[in-house]
Symmetry: C2
Subunit: 653 residues, 2 copies
Amino acid sequence: MHPTTQLLQNARDRVTFPKEELTKLIYVNDEIYETFMKAQKIIAQEPSIRNHADYHNWSRKEQIIKSYEKLRIMHQHFNLANVVHWAPLLSIFQGTTPTAVSFAMTVPALRFLGTDEQFNLWGPKFLTMEIVAAYAQTEIGHGSDVQNLETTATYDSQSNDFILHTPSVSAVKFWPGELGFLSNYALVYAKLIFNGKNKGVHPFMVQIRDNTTHKTLKGVTIGDIGPKLGYSTKDNGFLAFDNYRIPLNSMLARYVRIENGQFSRHGNEKISYASMMVSRQLIIFIYPRMAAQSLTVAIRYSITRQQFTNDKGIENSVIEYQTQQDKLLPRLATCYGMIFAGIRIMQLVDDNFHRVQRKDFSTLQQSHAILSAIKALSSQWVVDTAEWCRLSCGGHGYAHYSGIPAVYFDTAPNVTLEGENQVMYLQVARYLLKVLSYADKTPDKVPFYFSFVLQIKETLANKDLTNLTTSLGHLLKLTLTLQLISVAKQIKDLINSGKTSQQVWNQHVGIHLLSLAQRYAEYFIYLVFQEYITNANSSIKHILQQLCDLYSIQVILDNPNTLIESGSITTDQYKSLNELKIEMLNNIKPQAIGLVEAFDFNDNALRTCIGCHDGKPYEYIYDWATKDNSVNKVPKAVQAVIDLMGTKIKPKL
Amino acid sequence: MHPTTQLLQNARDRVTFPKEELTKLIYVNDEIYETFMKAQKIIAQEPSIRNHADYHNWSRKEQIIKSYEKLRIMHQHFNLANVVHWAPLLSIFQGTTPTAVSFAMTVPALRFLGTDEQFNLWGPKFLTMEIVAAYAQTEIGHGSDVQNLETTATYDSQSNDFILHTPSVSAVKFWPGELGFLSNYALVYAKLIFNGKNKGVHPFMVQIRDNTTHKTLKGVTIGDIGPKLGYSTKDNGFLAFDNYRIPLNSMLARYVRIENGQFSRHGNEKISYASMMVSRQLIIFIYPRMAAQSLTVAIRYSITRQQFTNDKGIENSVIEYQTQQDKLLPRLATCYGMIFAGIRIMQLVDDNFHRVQRKDFSTLQQSHAILSAIKALSSQWVVDTAEWCRLSCGGHGYAHYSGIPAVYFDTAPNVTLEGENQVMYLQVARYLLKVLSYADKTPDKVPFYFSFVLQIKETLANKDLTNLTTSLGHLLKLTLTLQLISVAKQIKDLINSGKTSQQVWNQHVGIHLLSLAQRYAEYFIYLVFQEYITNANSSIKHILQQLCDLYSIQVILDNPNTLIESGSITTDQYKSLNELKIEMLNNIKPQAIGLVEAFDFNDNALRTCIGCHDGKPYEYIYDWATKDNSVNKVPKAVQAVIDLMGTKIKPKL
């Protein structure tokens, strides 16, 4: 056996839990797991869609054209309108997220905000991809603040239609994915002007390109917005209208309507949250799986990579170094928490949608708050994890051949898109303050995952930390409780001192509000972790508990200030927490290979040559660099060098 | 005046210090400043080297070929062998770092490790770029651990030359910059086998390509290693030898020599540190200036970007939000500390070199320790700063047109190259423990910047925190002192308990050692900051003190645990530190525009459309996207979409 294959095999032999039991939890149900395994296999075997080692040498133009070819072939194998089919593909597909916006944003918005007739008019065509529709909300000058969008839709009572117009450069629609090239429709958010009055921002389904020739229609200016940090094949676009007429039926009319020249509102407008929830939920569900890909690569590489000789004259696997364990293992533990939270949230959001469709809005706000908290925490965590995994692999992690930079590129936008993280956190903080106000007066209104506000007295009174390991959950709850009480008091004092609530919010407590919301997100993940441990098969209860413990202790150690500041833990207890963590690193280390391989990614899905199932990082690196690297086959480059060498520097030394 | 130009102008009018005084400090002396300003201007005016908005749409091949063309034109304007000429270019040049490796690594190594005859043989040809030579140390399987390199140079006593050989895949040279295409020579580090004995790793100057045809010589395999996270035009290369004969004179022979069939060593081998110091020093000197570029963009954009209406119905500039200030202003303060440390270190390293050339090694170790500490702290800080600046600009920060992603790409490798940061920190920790051991026995041997070890008693005894603002330096020193004492004790206890020192180092205290070294780096920056304040023109003493205060408090708040754990600060003092920071954010905010504009970057150097001198972010974004984005001119892409749309999904919903 090849020596590095042997190293991996030895590590696998030391794993003490049945990894297939974790696999079941990760993939929720057999349908998702089997679809995913089938998709992985098909993609690996199909030459035109499998991983191209040379991909990151290509121009954006080449990558974009290739992505459409790939998408065509994908249609032969997968039903891309079905989330169970396409969602898992996002994490294993090189360079593009096929028609995700149309399916994940525009279709749900149409379903929630359009009438049944409107859904039947366009919906089926979206689902068969006869039409692809972008979700055109953001403008160059306006992102998160939807109410200040500038694009206007002016109702013309004479012709009974709308005139869509972009009044300034800052009003140009900017950033919508799949708008640049792919879409022939767009769901455009515009300020409705009705009889000279601003009736607020509403969505309009607008044709922007010809269905056959795909040419841009007259009155519309449209294109790709240029290169970005990552997402190179995603055609984020710009869109401007020059007094562009659209029919009355363009306005999605479940909640607002113009009939017989009258404007009217119907039902609960909170529903507008609901359509954004689908895409946020997918971000939470899918992307921690890409962090798991990076962790798989980094853990395998850390076992096969040997550096500096030990006491016995043998080079150590770098996983043996405490500093390497510290980079990877707490993140591995957290990854499980993120995955479980993603699944739980999918269930909460599903439940909420069914309620909303029955006009029951009772769970809308809490789902929105949880979703926002975890969207923000999870998206930043995924990016950071990809970066730490990259750094843990030294130079080879920096190479695209490691597969890790692509994870960074494909996940970095999630921090900003679909609700910028900071805006999300501030909304969560606002909700937490609201829930706190329920605690005394209307405790029945406190939702299950926020019940810590009903336990404030007990939480503060509990001083028993004799067993630190079993107190970790308490410490997380205590931190959250203390921060919530503190910020609520600060706000109250500042308002009593004469500040407006806007001043307080924007200029005085912003940093504390962000911190509070993060503490809630961390605590929610702990709660879900506990649910999973309770319900787990006994063969994996122990490893899940270890993961939850390491997760919790890392969270506490990352932000111990509230506990220390309040005198909730002593100096000795703080030191013990540090020691406990090091003990946990030692416990998890031998299980690490099993924990990443429970995700069952094949080599093609990992897009790696340094973290393959059979090891051999150096052989694969050398193979890819010597055989698959197209820049080595460019005679022009050699000529450019020769020309350059001809122009020697004049010695003005 | 355009409204966003007006916003910037209003902000400039509020600045209260003379920014040209800071400019003088940033650029050290008139020669550097004037060269830099001239270079910025030339690059902005020369169409073939100025910023190309479309650059990040190109393939690597196109970018590489363009970079050589650019380099040719650069030769007409600049003396690229002169550090004062080319170093400032690194931060303002799109996509390549012209021949930096040859000038910054190979030439110094040749100067320090070669004999005078050897330097005269090759050095002048390097400096005129008649020869370009890579620095070929790292192998696929071996990075930081130079003594375990596998490439062999076997001395053949019959022919009195060496046979250079790559015995395995893991021994292939991998990662050296400028090796893939550009170099015709390489300084190859190989294990010298002399009469069957391993005489350690030494450098050999080896020709690898023909000087005229640039063809690879027989016995050599060479090429580019493939795409990476960033640095796309840098031809990091691989290099393998198949029993390749090189003359006796190839071995750099100042410290080791083979004469008359005898191997001998001469002088102090510590010198091998010295040549690496040049490139590390440049990393410290140059790259914080790229962080300053990101900060310039982010601060200007934060003034011109308005979001959410305030009490008066006007949209707020986002710089008015506390959370935005918290992202940017502590980093802006730290940036000045990093810049000053870079300059101070340049002076220390220069001084050390002059000593070394006189065979005085007395300052070698301390310079190396300071350099390593700041290399590690600074390189990671630059990357993090680029990322936070990007995030602070929302979606537009993510666009390449912002200029910020390129900073991330061009600086990310510095964390890993020229001494991987973690390896650097561990070396610093080792040196700190050594200096601690001097304190009692040989206090004379404690170097100036480590004199805190001579003040341990006073530092621990000082409990006076009545004025927190003037105690910040003390708190930094106290943290460092406490961590050093603690880790020294831990190591002693573990060794007394029977562990080997290697076990202790690798498996028990790694995390604490990293933390200790970071605390030293932070404290060093504080010391330099203080020197600058002392020596500054009175008109800027106050702003420098404010920057140093904000820097120091952020450092303390980021890692308060040692102080809290040891009971060195009380709960109330900790809260006061938080309040003090918020006060400082308010003080620095109106000065921010002056602080970034003291760097005097022109718009071309910033490579931005959202942070230009006259504002207008939206107009420039729209201009670039509509006029300069080549992917909008690709008929093939439209055809690919039409083909795609033709293959409708069969409705298996």
